[in-house]
Amino acid sequence: MDVLYFAWVRERIGIAREKVETQAATVSDLVAELRGREERYAAAFEDVSALRVALDQELADFDAALDGVREVAFFPPMTGG
């Protein structure tokens, strides 16, 4: 699946998007996998309460299932308007 990062999540990880091969069942499982990869991922996902996630461009919860999802995006709370 495609995994996208925005704002300071993108800055910490150092890339805007990447392909990830995973068997993770939920967003939280995917976060645990990514966190285990490298220090920059651990830094980005240090506090998931400070993060938001969208699945196929719809806001979702961290316990949402990843079945059939093609695009996951992680970002800080939005500051539009």
Binding site: L4, F6, A7, W8, A54, Q57, E58, L59, E71, A73, F75, P76, P77, M78, T79, G80, G81
Partner: protein, 147 residues
């Protein structure tokens, strides 16, 4: 309903006039315009707005649709910019048309509350000392609990 997500400046006067002229059957038009603050002693050099292109229009259109049903709107317009903006530039606008003023006001307030905290934009303030992401506020999050 019209949703525009663009880097370019927009013409507030022309947009507001056209929106109002297109809704002679509605008695009440409300607009909100957000502007990058331009204060005398403020170190702000620019505001940079990042967004999530594949999601932004879809998310705003869903909010606009929800506002339309909830407040019986005749029409709604949202324009939101991204990219680099100088102090004094307009960031975004919403316009709502309704039969009754209360609906037009509430719909515009609702849309602003949702755009602030649920539309995928991230603001960064640039000063001579560097750049800093704008933090979301508890107040903005709390504003949503009203709806």
């Amino acid at each position: 309903m019209k949703v525009l997500v663009q880097a370019e400046r927009f013409d507030l006067g022309a947009q507001n006039a056209a929106f109002a002229a297109g809704h002679r059957d509605m008695g009440a038009i409300v607009t909100f315009t957000g502007i990058v603050r331009d204060l005398p002693d403020d170190p702000l050099v620019a505001m940079e707005i990042e967004h999530y292109p594949a999601m932004t229009e879809k998310a705003i259109a869903a909010m606009a649709q929800e506002a339309t049903e909830r407040f019986n709107l005749g029409d709604v317009l949202v324009i939101h910019r991204y990219g680099r903006l100088e102090p004094g530039e307009m960031i975004m606008m919403v316009a709502t048309a309704a039969r009754h003023r209360r609906d037009a006001f509430e719909a515009a307030t609702y849309l602003m509350d949702y755009l602030k905290s649920r539309a995928p934009f991230w603001k960064r303030e640039i000063t001579a000392k560097g750049a800093a992401w704008v933090a979301s506020t508890d107040e903005d999050e709390a504003a949503l609990s009203r709806w």
